[in-house]
Amino acid sequence: MSEGPIVALERVGKRFSTGVEALAGIDLAVAPGSFLSLLGPSGCGKSTLLRIIAGLAPPSAGSVRYGESGLARHLGFVFQEPTLMPWASVWENVYLPLRLAGERRERVAPRIAETLAALGLAGFERAYPRQLSGGMRMRVSIARALVTEPRLLLLDEPFAALDEFTRFRLNEDLLRLWQRHHWTVVFVTHSIFESVFLSSRIVVLTPRPGRILADLPVELPYPRDGALRTTPAYVEQCRRLSALLSEAMA
């Protein structure tokens, strides 16, 4: 790969003002176009790491370097909760990042319509978040992150609160969109199955303070779809990862 990493972390550590050490000595280079999962148990600092990558929290040690200038303006972020504005319709919520960038409604309307359609939200433009199910709200949240056509998409356990059925559907939809556009993705999760299904690379973190325990490529070819979940190769990958995790956490 001739291109440098889109984002590179060097010896990144984070200690909160309470004295709790959340992360220590994280070295991580994210290759452009990759789908990287940060996998670890609750409280291992993976969300903190994501916030540091996004520039929402400063690291207390080490450095974060973006591979291209202006990347900070081309980030998409999806939180654990849908984090929508309850007073605004679906359309207005997705329009938000463009509006903040000074884009006029008429100019970006086609782009918004396209993004909504890609996430199965066509026809829900005028609905308010309160009227939607948890899964649909999360779709709006993802649409809002994608509408700016980000070069780096950061997702913080976006599907953790959803039922498994909805979660599978959203996994497949996200995968389908990524296979089409190939933005770089950093995806935080505590689900082994989810990370193997989606990612090209999995970084496993230990509990507090979070350190990198393992850094593995996922040797399953793209394009993938829902059928992958029943293949022996997928099951084998999950089994190996699971064994590695339980060995390390013991």
Binding site: L56, F77, F79, T83, W87, L100, A101, R130
Partner: protein, 262 residues
């Protein structure tokens, strides 16, 4: 369905029983009307004196609405100012509290002396002092209660201070602001009446408080009750109107205004 009937019928039944008990007591004990007039006499007086009382009510109402408008403008502006600078908030907020906890009957004479030629203005200022605090306190809380993740999102997208205020903090604060306005509406009415009580103004353009005082001096208790009734009805009307406006503004999204599914 049953619940909705009960919601109206139950308090109505209590009211009717209370009035019957009151009238019976007055008749059995042969209480003179200057001690306690019966509800029938009050109703009759209200019907007879209504037009003259209504003129006074209008004066009180004008002061009330002007004070509420001033409370909304100044209270809202102060809250926005506080949200811009934490230093400003901690410097000024204690004084807002002091103004709030000092009894208005104690400050009113001063204000009336200072503004002695402007009766309307002095009453307005008194009513405003009583009314503005809930709006400042609630709106400040609301402006600071925006979803933390949304605040981060605005930061991520490089939103300016003004954009964050306009598109995030103000809408987040709206339900809090409206709750404050609903409280202030009632307080403005109380402030207007109390201020007039203290001012004890005579003359043509005086409010309901003056009618109540006069009626008290002349032992016209039925007229006093009629005036009280008008005041209470006005207070309820203001509250209902403000609740209606609140539902119009946030009814489509805020939890407080949505029907609960059983």
């Amino acid at each position: 369905m049953n619940d909705r009937i009960a919601r109206i019928a139950a308090p109505l039944a209590v009211g009717v029983l209370f009035l019957i008990g009151w009238e019976t007591l007055v008749r059995l004990e042969r209480l003179p009307p200057y001690v306690l007039p019966g509800p029938l006499l009050v109703a009759e007086t209200l019907w007879r004196d209504g037009p003259s009382l209504l003129g006074s009510l209008l004066v009180t109402l004008r002061i009330t609405l002007a004070a509420l408008a001033a409370a909304i403008l100044v209270g809202g502006a102060l809250a926005i100012l506080f949200a811009q600078s934490r230093l400003l908030e901690i410097s000024l907020f204690p004084y807002a509290v002091i103004l709030q906890v000092t009894p208005i009957v104690a400050i009113a004479p001063l204000i009336i002396i200072w503004l002695r030629d402007q009766v309307f203005l002095s009453l307005l200022v008194c009513a405003w002092i009583v009314a503005f605090f809930p709006i400042v306190a609630n709106t400040t809380l609301g402006l600071n209660s925006a979803d933390r993740n949304l605040v981060d999102l605005f930061r991520l997208y490089g939103a300016s201070r003004w954009q964050t205020l306009r598109h995030l903090r103000l809408p987040s604060a709206l339900p809090y602001f409206l709750a404050g306005v609903r409280i202030s509406g009632g307080l403005a009415l109380i402030g207007a009446v109390v201020a007039e009580f203290v001012a004890g103004t005579g003359g043509a353009d005086t409010g309901l408080a003056s009618r109540i005082l006069e009626a008290g001096y002349r032992l016209q208790m039925a007229r006093l009750f009629a005036a009280l009734l008008l005041l209470a009805a006005t207070g309820i009307a203001i509250f209902a109107a403000l609740s209606f406006i609140a539902r119009l503004l946030i009814g489509h999204w805020h939890e407080s205004a949505l029907p609960r599914e059983e």
